[in-house]
C-alpha cells in the first residue's frame, strides 16, 4: 500500500468492522488485514486503546473448551465512528477535488 495508515484511520477501520457485528481478535484482524496493509501485531494496541477510551467493551464466550474474547461497540464507539465517517468523507472529497483538478475551476 502506497499511502500510510495513521492511528485515527486504523481506529476507524476497527470501529467500521465492529458496526457490522461483534467480532473476536483473530477475525477482526483478518478482516481489517484483507482491506488494508497491516501486520498481525498491529491491532492489539489499537484494541486496547479503543477499550480504554470506552469505545468498545469485551465479553467472553466459550468455544471448544476455551474462551473467545468478543469486542463490541459501545454507544461512545458508535458516536466516534459516525464522527470518523463524516471526517473521512470530507477528507476524500477534498483530496479528490485536488487530484482531479477540480479545485482550479
Amino acid at each position: 500500500m502506497v499511502f500510510q495508515l495513521g492511528a485515527p484511520l486504523l481506529d476507524a477501520c476497527v470501529l467500521a468492522v465492529l458496526t457490522e457485528g461483534d467480532a473476536y481478535g483473530y477475525t477482526l484482524t483478518q478482516q481489517v488485514k484483507s482491506v488494508v496493509d497491516i501486520s498481525e501485531s498491529t491491532l492489539y494496541p489499537v484494541l486496547r486503546r479503543l477499550e480504554k477510551d470506552n469505545c468498545l467493551e469485551t465479553y467472553d464466550e466459550p468455544f471448544q473448551g476455551r474462551n473467545r474474547r468478543y469486542y463490541k461497540l459501545t454507544d461512545e464507539g458508535k458516536t466516534k465512528f459516525d464522527f470518523y465517517l463524516m471526517e473521512w468523507s470530507k477528507f476524500v472529497e477534498a483530496i479528490n477535488r485536488l487530484m482531479e483538478g477540480k479545485g482550479n475551476e
Partner: protein, 216 residues
C-alpha cells in the same frame, strides 16, 4: 517454535510489565494463535515476529498508557483542593517512576546491536555525570550555608570582647547563609528539571520508535 514455546517466551519478555497488562496481552495472543488453527500456526507465528519484537510493541503501548495517566493526573491537580493534592502528587511521582522503568525496559527489549549498547552506556554516563555535578553544586550550597552559620556564631560570641570587629563576621556569616540556601534550593530544582527532561526525552524516543514500526 510452536505455540506454547512462543507464548512462554513472550511471557518471559514481558516479565516486568504490570501483571494485568501482561496477562491481557498473553491471553490475546494465545487466543489469536488458537484461532489461526494448527495448520496456520507456523505462518502466523512468523507473521507476528519474534517474541522479542512483539514484546517491544506491547511494552511501547504500555508506555503510552502511562503517559496518558500522567497527563490526566496533572490536569486534575488544578481542580483538587489542598488536602487531596498531596496524595495526587504522590500518585504522580509513582507514575513518573514507572515511566522511567518502562522506558528502560523498552530499551532492553530492542535488538541488542553494539551501537545501541554504546548509545545506552553513553547516555547513562551523561545522566550520571550531570547528576553528580548537580549533587556537588547542591552540596557546595549547603557547605556555604554551614560556613556562614559558623561565621555568624563566631561573630555573636565575640560581640562583647570586640563589638566593632564582630560586625564583619556577622555580616559575612548572614550573607553566606542566604547565598548557601539559595544555591542549594536553586540547584536542587534545576536538577529536578533536568531529570524530568531526560524522562520525557526517553519517552519521546520510544514514541518515535513506535511510529517507525507501525507499518513494518
Amino acid at each position: 517454535m510452536n505455540k506454547e514455546e512462543y507464548i512462554s517466551e513472550l511471557s518471559n519478555c514481558l516479565k516486568r510489565l504490570p501483571e494485568s497488562d501482561k496477562q491481557k496481552a498473553l491471553e490475546f495472543y494465545r487466543e489469536y494463535l488458537e484461532e489461526a488453527g494448527q495448520e496456520n500456526e507456523t505462518s502466523t507465528i512468523e507473521a507476528l515476529g519474534t517474541p522479542k519484537e512483539l514484546a517491544k510493541k506491547i511494552i511501547v503501548e504500555c508506555v503510552d498508557k502511562n503517559y496518558i495517566k500522567e497527563e490526566l493526573s496533572e490536569s486534575n491537580d488544578s481542580n483538587i483542593n489542598n488536602d487531596s493534592s498531596q496524595e495526587a502528587k504522590k500518585e504522580k511521582g509513582k507514575v513518573k517512576l514507572s515511566a522511567i522503568w518502562i522506558v528502560l525496559l523498552a530499551i532492553c527489549a530492542l535488538p541488542f546491536s553494539p551501537v545501541v549498547i554504546a548509545l545506552v552506556i553513553a547516555l547513562l554516563v551523561i545522566v550520571i555525570s550531570i547528576l553528580i555535578t548537580i549533587g556537588a553544586l547542591v552540596l557546595s550550597g549547603v557547605v556555604t550555608a554551614i560556613a556562614g552559620l559558623i561565621m555568624f556564631v563566631v561573630g555573636i560570641l565575640s560581640i562583647f570582647s570586640m563589638p566593632g570587629g564582630a560586625l564583619l563576621p556577622i555580616g559575612i556569616g548572614l550573607t553566606c547563609i542566604a547565598l548557601g540556601v539559595l544555591m542549594s534550593i536553586g540547584f536542587y530544582e534545576l536538577g529536578k528539571l533536568i531529570v524530568i527532561g531526560f524522562v520525557k526525552l526517553g519517552g519521546s524516543m520510544v514514541h518515535k520508535k513506535k511510529g517507525g514500526n507501525k507499518n513494518a
